[in-house]
């Protein structure tokens, strides 16, 4: 997807690649084991983690690196989901479910990959048009404006009956998302964001975030670096939307609104803004924990007596946990730093074992 850009750096190339290579190998092993031995349930959770990883890592590119705190990224997810779903829906279903679709679109059923790419590109195009004006705003104004964008997307989805079925359920999307294609995209997303963050562009973005005036005085185009981050981030979010649509297979506009927006932002903030490995940890932490609590709240045997189910307890516990994290680690679990896989490898002595960042 992204050509490896060889740059002269102090550590030798093999040494620089050791961290990513170990992480990738570890991930591949986990996925291989999961796809052969784990049941549907664990596979589903891994797929959800993969999709959330793309969403959060790409949001991090905008919110963490450039400081443009977007609340509207779910709008791009919606654009991606609906675009890809309209493209991949089998023709027989389109005739029934979307009778007023333009003829050429109705007779078109694309494979998953091109549909996903088009979905991402369309999200990116929208981001570019919206970003041209929005990226000139500052701080809280950007957040409010992006929230406005989310509302606009929502209204369009609900009212554009011919293409989206309005507020009605968009059903019958083929279940194309698998453990493998989701995680390949997740790796691509992490790689792009990680490399971009470490590049000159990434430094421009952070400079513009930390001190706009100073950045401008050094000749950094704040608008350009923000717009680049915003568009790329929208592309990946659109891709994640497509993956999500082909995983859930039936959805409606309300799936892409405030609840989902805040879910993603929570994972980002808990993991730590500005850190790619933090995003991954945040996704892992929250997805796994909320699954655990969801199972626990149904009540269980303590040997002596049976704890009754307390529905809603998991949401309350999660909220309390978030408050605790924010109080004790205000910058998130990783506080904007990255997990240095190489350092861990060195400390462990044996370069074959280690816990990867992604």
């Amino acid at each position: 997807m992204q050509p490896e850009s060889p740059r002269g750096g102090s550590p030798s190339l093999p040494s620089r690649l050791a961290g990513p290579a170990v992480s990738l190998a570890l991930l591949a092993i986990i996925l291989a084991i999961a796809s052969f031995f784990a049941g549907d349930y664990l596979q589903r959770i891994l797929i959800i983690i993969g999709i959330n990883t793309i969403l959060v890592v790409s949001l991090n590119l905008s919110n963490g690196f450039t400081g443009v705190f977007s609340l509207g990224h779910v709008g791009f997810m919606a654009i991606g989901a609906y675009t890809a779903a309209v493209l991949t829906l089998p023709v027989s279903l389109k005739v029934v479910n979307l009778p007023s679709l333009p003829h050429w679109l109705q007779q078109l059923a694309l494979p998953f990959l091109p549909a996903t790419l088009i979905a991402g590109l369309l999200a990116m195009l929208v981001a570019f048009l919206v970003g041209l004006s929005l990226m000139r705003l500052k701080g809280a104004y950007i957040s409010v404006a992006t929230l406005g964008f989310l509302v606009i997307v929502q209204v369009i989805l609900v009212n554009w009956d011919q293409v989206t079925r309005g507020a009605r359920t968009f059903a019958g999307v083929p279940p194309h998302s698998t453990l493998w294609n989701v995680w390949i995209w997740a790796v691509v997303a992490v790689y792009i964001v990680w490399r971009l963050g470490a590049s000159a562009f990434g430094r421009d973005m952070r400079a513009a975030r930390d001190n706009e005036v100073a950045a401008l005085s050094l000749g950094i185009s704040v608008l350009r670096s923000r717009l680049l981050a915003f568009c790329l981030s929208a592309f990946l979010t659109g891709v994640a939307g497509s993956l999500w649509a082909h995983f859930i297979t039936s959805f409606s506009p309300k799936s892409f609104y405030f609840t989902q927006a805040f879910n993603i932002i929570t994972m980002l903030v808990i993991g730590g803004l500005g850190s790619v490995s933090g995003s991954v940890i945040g996704v892992f932490f929250i997805t796994v924990l909320s699954e655990l609590l969801r199972n626990a709240e149904r009540g269980f045997d303590l040997g002596v007596f049976r704890l009754p189910p307390i529905y809603g307890a998991s949401q309350i516990l999660m909220a309390v946990l978030f408050v605790l994290v924010i109080v004790f680690r205000p910058a998130g679990l990783l506080g904007g730093r990255e997990i240095d896989v190489r350092a861990i490898l060195r400390r462990l002595g044996a370069p074959r074992r280690g816990k990867g960042a992604a």
């Binding site: 349930y41 959770i45 059903a171 019958g172 609840t259 796994v288 655990l292 149904r298 809603g312």
Partner: protein, 390 residues
């Protein structure tokens, strides 16, 4: 710090693995129950879940089914599609349930039913009334309630025959599949019976101000005999109140979205002369004998009267599945499906359930309710003569 993190991660994964390890059920028939106990759907789903649990308790007290106890394995769907998908997968894979049921909403049902179908077990929705649902999940998705085409046809026939309505004004919430379909089916049957639509207008779920629509309505030269307002439970009180405050006194007609205490609480005296179709009149004085018995049992179990007809639907759904298992003679999912399809004349709180050959929507009567002196009263039980195709 990092080792600690690793330990926490490993522990979490271990717990998760333990969480999906099966619990040996032994001598019980496991049925999966999926309702949204939290989130936007809870006001309909929580009473359904209570009704279902009550039915299981009664069945077990009477010796169970086929000599085994009925065990309801429940998850909270949290009004979230991903959570519902996970829960349905757990039910199918870990708990190995022989059937699943739940939900009062098409979206939620569509998040779970395909997973049940993949595992080869039926999914019976207790309260999602879209007649388009069964086509979306071939063979395995059943409705325990009537379809919207049936209740809309009943509303249209009652309007023409009993209320002598010749013209109607339609106001439709275009934010929900349910309200859109209900309005569409009503119009179809009403026009078929010779009625006239003077104006069709719409609004969006959650709107608070209806003055624009009402100004248009009052400006009409030909005054409609009836106002058909297709609305969900959250908006119905507000709309009815504003319609009455604007001075319009015609009868208002609606669907089972009106079956909420909010109607009278919010609209107050404005709710008089409001008619709506629903599954059953849950009233200790005016209901049928089955309803009275159900209310007494529910009151004893939960210390409050059933909140709405959805409690009765949850109750009937468990009885429906138990009846199918009994007639199947085994808890084999395939045999249950065959027996369920053959259900004939099963009496319940919300009416008799029969499935016709090839249809997975039951033939059920519709209860038309009139609000009188702030109380729901029975207007008529209607079995529509003709039903629009889904």
């Amino acid at each position: 710090m990092k080792t600690r993190l690793a330990i926490v991660l490993v522990a979490a994964v271990a717990l998760l693995a333990a969480g999906c390890g099966g619990k040996g059920g032994g001598n019980a028939i496991k049925i999966g129950m999926l309702y949204n106990m939290t989130g936007a759907q809870a006001s309909l789903d929580a009473p359904s879940a209570n009704g279902a649990k009550l039915a299981a308790k009664e069945l077990n007290a009477a010796g169970g089914v086929l000599g085994k106890k009925i065990e309801l394995v429940a998850f909270d769907g949290k009004t979230d599609a991903a959570t519902i998908g996970n829960s349905a997968t757990q039910l199918a894979q870990t708990d190995k349930v022989v059937a699943m049921f739940g939900f009062s909403d098409s979206d939620m049902t569509m998040a779970a039913a395909p997973i049940a179908a993949k595992a080869g077990v039926v999914f019976v929705t207790s309260g999602a009334t879209s007649p388009k649902l069964p086509d979306q999940v071939p063979e395995y998705l059943y409705l325990a309630c009537f379809g919207d085409n049936v209740q809309a046809a009943a509303a249209a026939e009652y309007s023409v025959n009993a209320l002598q309505a010749k013209s109607v004004y339609l106001l439709i919430d275009k934010g929900m599949e349910y309200t859109l379909l209900l309005g569409k089916y009503f119009k179809e049957r009403f026009v078929e019976l010779g009625g006239k639509v003077v104006l069709e207008d719409n609004y969006q779920t959650g709107d608070k101000d209806f003055s624009a629509q009402l100004t248009k309505l009052k400006g009409l030269k030909a005054k409609p005999d009836l106002l058909f307002i297709s609305s969900g439970p959250d908006d119905v009180g507000t709309i009815v109140k504003q319609v009455r405050d604007s001075g319009l006194t015609q009868p208002i007609m609606g669907g089972d979205g009106y079956d909420t205490p909010l109607l009278v609480e919010v609209a107050g005296a404005g709710a008089e002369n409001v008619y709506f179709t629903t599954h059953s009149l849950i009233d200790a004085d005016l209901g049928t004998d089955a309803v009275k018995k159900f209310i007494t049992a529910y009151q004893a179990e939960y210390k409050n009267a059933p909140e709405n007809a959805f409690a009765g639907l949850g109750y009937d759904t468990v009885k429906l599945l138990a009846d199918a298992i009994k007639r199947a003679g085994s808890a084999d999912p395939k045999a249950i499906r065959t027996a369920l399809q053959a259900t004939k004349g099963l009496a319940g709180v919300t009416g008799e359930i029969s499935y016709q050959e090839g249809s997975r929507i039951p033939q059920k009567g519709v209860t038309v309710i009139l609000v009188k002196d702030g109380k729901f009263t029975l207007a008529q039980e209607v079995v529509p003569q003709k039903v629009p195709t889904p």
